[in-house]
Amino acid sequence: MTDITGMTGIRDMRGRLALAISSGAAAELAGLGLIGSAAWLITRAAEHPPLAALSVAIVGVRAFATTKGVFRYGERLAGHDVALRAQATTRQRLYRALIPTGPRDRRGADLLSRMVDDTDAAQDLLVRCLLPACAALVTAIAAVTLGLFLLPAAALALLAGLLVAGVLIPLGTAAAARRWSARIAPARAELAARVADLVHGAADLAAYGAGGRALDACAEADARLGALERRQSRANAVAAALGTLTQGLTVLAVVWIAGGSQAGRVATAVLALVSLVAFEPVLPMAAAAERLTGVLAALRRLREVGATPPAVAEPAKPAPVPEGPPTVEIHDLVVRHGPGLPAALDGVSLTLTPGRRVALVGPSGAGKSTLLSALMRLVEPESGTVRLNGTDLGDLASDDVRRVMTGLTQDPYVFQTTLRDNLRLAGPEADQEELTEAVRRARLDRWVERTGWDTQLGEDGRTVSGGQLQRLALARALLNDPPVLLLDEPAESLDEPTADALMADLLDATRGRTTLLVTHRLRGLEGVDEIVVLENGAVAQRGTHEELVGTPGYYRDLWHSEALTAGR
């Protein structure tokens, strides 16, 4: 298990953290010293002592006044530095924990965004919770200690007040925050879902005259969320009011006790004003505790990510990658995506010999993509074996497996970077000529000429259509040029003539290369060495195009339907 919550990262930064904490505490202490020495100066001066008796206090007032701001500045700088480091460490760890494939790979983009948002919690933990709490603690101890010297009974009253404001009330707000967030989070998710429906489903809603109903559903979700938010803000207002009350009544009690004990005017004034100011860093603890519950929940979620076992077990001592032209033997392979689910692959056997091209066809959900995932060692087989030149894939490091077998996978991604860098991630050493060649063979050259090699793609940049994305992914696969090339539906979301031309090119370019091609277009498959028809996770038919067309079954049906409609 990886600790990705950044707490170990903080340990490396102990020095900086100590600096931030001590500056923060020093700033608060200077504030306390300033008001204390000023109160002493004024009440003592009223007793008309010799000027020399006041000189220390005068120096104190000036010194505290000057240093307070400087300390505060130091605290903020050091605090943010530590926080940014903690966040960077957390992100790096989260990323490392995500590198091995896991069940979370199936999760949606929203969950990923939330995970990324959660890494902000490391920053908040420090800047909004830990640093203020330390400063408050030091201030409270200093004020109570001073009180103990002047008037122990008053110090006890102050201690009680500070405990209420700094411990009891924050405990209350933390409990309230836990309760409310448990109710508000689903209401917020509900609103987000309704809004997403309204925007993403705009065409469907307009076409079916259902926009008004969708708008009403949004309004209802908003009203439910609003009611909960109002109740939460009421709970927070109660906490704030209790804080004000505690501060006022504590000062009052201190003055009352001092008055009753004849402590003297100087001591009374110093005690009263120090008590008043001592609450300043303590009162924000209520809000900090509220934030802390959110932070802790985020950190817990991140820890769960680190604790999730990877989908594929890496061998303790990876075997060396077998030399020579690759032979892949799949024997009786069974893969299940989860307990209780039907097997995605149910006893598939298949051999890829060097230079041999095999096509996988079959209806959607037959297990074609799962077979590619098993070859790329992204899923763990339940039983059966995949061997590369006689070595079981399970004995190889999964990165090594993907160095041999990779290519065009399902759901390729466009990064927010230049077109060039989007390609080069598949071939970091490739020169311009190789890039141009890969793009040409993926039939992307015209688009690249129009767009330009250094144009930003992705969310903030130029949008990429489905067909362009598919060809970009194919260009990556061709550029990467692995010993065993895997291609998952390379002609998907292309229009008919482009798809035909691309498949023809592809079958031409892969001649004599070890290739596994997943496709639902049968045209051109006369040229491959073997066609395997998968249905319901098992091999239903296998053979050459000629053999399969002559045998009743899925392939022949599909071929006839394609031939019929295409007028061939």
Partner: protein, 553 residues
């Protein structure tokens, strides 16, 4: 205050009242601090009897109560404003229409109308009350100080403006740098998310581990740049802090010396000591809340930008489906040209064509040829810039009464986060479960829907069951079957991502759905084209050929 927000609040009576209560409570509580200082200094100097502590207790109690009122009213203000703004925003999004929405970044709009508006909370419930207090309380403190002691009042009066002055000076110097840095921060978050999302691709090409180092390097560079900025940006808070604490020293030391010489009384001296910090505190509080408040302002700006934006889409009002129809319509386009703003080439360029009642037309052509625009035109999502569209010889209204005659299946139908049954009865909410099931059967969807965990009541959407592309299309077809009284069928590449057998099911269902209706089908695949009586080929916004299906073979 934000101009547009103010206008919004003025228009909402309840919100206006809550905001007024919130601000009044905040200001009153601020003024009570003066009373508290008065009583406390009186008691500490011995001018008031200890019994005056009862008054102090009362003041503290009232302050706490006002704080409570302020908090509750602030919560009501913010939810009220958010609800009002959200409602306008969503109504506006709906009115813009699908064609206009498609040209925007829809993900950002969803975030803005949802979580994005929460950024208003710190502005409305934190910054605004603090600003009101800052406008009133320092002045009140100054007036009281002038009455109590002229010298101290002058010191405060001179130093007080330094805070906003220095704040503005430092702010101006750092504003641009700081803003750039915040944008960089947002980009950094974006970069990280980008890498995490693209992880499967990185993994496939053995680049996943390499990126971990890149993440670390980018974060470190960013931190160094941020810290350089913060060193300057935090100067403003240093100035604030210094001005406040030094002024206290500037007041306290002379007051002490004057007490010593007997030219000042203790009660006045203590009052000055207690009051002087209260002049600075509201300004500092406001300053501290400034940054979070600006995020709220940015969210408000974004929301009002959407509200004020010019949309070309026609307003969309819902009219319930009415079954009485004149039968399958004839569609005639006369020299129709459609242009999208910001594009040179017309999406449809002088297109004329006639589709006979009950005819099935397949639209083919490369992407960007204008096929979808033609469908959007018939749906009334876009209006022609020139030329006209005639339905049975009458100009197309493109309103909901017209759309009630349509059965539309988009290329990627949206499944709503509700039950399968509700998804199917989208265009006919009154449909019974039997109607829904009949429609699903006709769309070849009944079999897989029944196999779902809760059948027709299974929830769909992001948190619901996952359907394959073919199954989604069949739910959308069932939607079309479920709507009574439709006589024009519009389909946008319904089999683009499907396998042979899924395709066969969709093609069969589409054939049934086209019975007795005029049908316009955007098609890629031969099986779908085969359904048509006529194939119309579009290229670069023009009709390049229109041939009967028999002639093309």
């Amino acid at each position: 205050m934000h101009k547009d927000l103010l206008r919004l609040i003025r228009g909402e009576r309840a919100v206006r009242r809550h905001l007024a209560v919130c601000l009044a409570a905040a200001v009153l509580a601020g003024l009570l601090v003066l009373v508290q200082a008065e009583v406390l200094s009186g008691v500490l100097s011995g001018r008031f009897a200890p019994a005056a502590l009862a008054v102090l207790a009362l003041v503290v109690g009232v302050r706490a109560l006002l704080g409570l009122v302020q908090g509750v009213a602030a919560g009501r203000t913010s939810t009220g404003v958010k609800t009002a703004l959200r409602h306008r925003l969503l109504s506006r999004l709906r009115d813009l229409g699908p064609a206009d929405l498609a040209s925007r970044r829809s993900g950002e709009l969803v975030t803005l109308a949802g979580r994005g508006l929460d950024a208003l909370d710190p502005y409305l419930s934190g910054y605004l009350p603090a600003a009101a207090v800052a406008a009133v309380v320092p002045l009140a403190v100054l007036v009281r100080l002038f009455v109590a002691d002229l010298t101290s009042a002058v010191i405060v009066l001179v130093t007080l403006p330094l805070i906003p002055l220095f704040g503005a000076l430092v702010g101006m110097r750092t504003k641009e740098v700081t803003e750039r840095q915040w944008r960089a921060l947002a980009r950094l978050g974006g970069h990280f998310l980008d890498v995490v999302r693209g992880l499967p691709t990185l993994r496939a090409f053995g680049r996943a581990r390499y990126q971990a180092e890149v993440i670390g390097r980018v974060a470190q560079e960013h931190r160094e740049a941020t810290m350089r900025t913060l060193r300057v940006a935090f100067l403003s808070s240093l100035v604030l802090e210094l001005a406040a604490s030094l002024s206290l020293a500037l007041v306290a030391v002379p007051v002490g010396l004057r007490l010593l010489s007997g030219s000042m009384e203790l009660p006045t001296a203590l009052l000055v000591l207690l009051l002087a910090p209260e002049a600075y505190l509201p300004l500092r509080t406001m300053g501290n809340k400034f940054h979070a408040a600006m995020e709220g302002v940015a969210a408000a700006d974004e929301a009002f930008a959407v509200l004020d934006a010019q949309g070309r889409g026609t307003a969309v009002q819902d009219v319930p489906a009415s079954p009485a129809r004149s039968g399958a319509p004839e569609i005639r386009l006369e020299n129709v040209t459609v242009r999208y703003p910001g594009r040179d080439e017309a999406a449809l360029d002088d297109v004329s064509l006639t589709i006979a009642p009950g005819e099935r037309v397949a639209l083919v052509g490369e992407s960007g040829a204008g096929k979808s625009t033609l469908l959007h035109l018939l749906l009334g999502f876009v209006a022609p810039d020139s030329g006209r569209v005639l339905i049975d010889g009458v100009a197309l209204t493109g309103d909901d009464a017209w759309r009630a005659r349509l059965a539309f299946v988009p290329q990627r139908p949206h499944l709503f986060a509700t039950s399968v049954a509700d998804n199917i009865r989208l265009g006919f909410p009154e449909a019974t479960l039997d109607d829904v099931r009949r429609a699903a059967k006709a769309a070849h969807a009944d079999e897989f829907v029944t196999a779902l965990p809760e059948g027709y009541e299974t929830a769909l959407g992001e948190r619901g069951a996952n359907l394959s592309a073919g199954q989604r299309q069949r739910v959308a077809l069932a939607r079309a079957f479920c709507r009574p009284g439709t006589d024009l069928l519009l389909l946008d590449e319904p089999t683009a991502r499907l396998d042979g057998r899924s395709e066969a099911a969709i093609v069969a269902a589409t054939g049934e759905l086209a019975e007795g209706r005029t049908a316009v089908i955007v098609a890629h695949r031969p099986a779908m084209i085969d359904l048509a009586d006529r194939v119309i080929r579009l290229a670069e916004g023009r009709v390049v050929s229109a041939e009967l299906i028999g002639e093309s073979r």
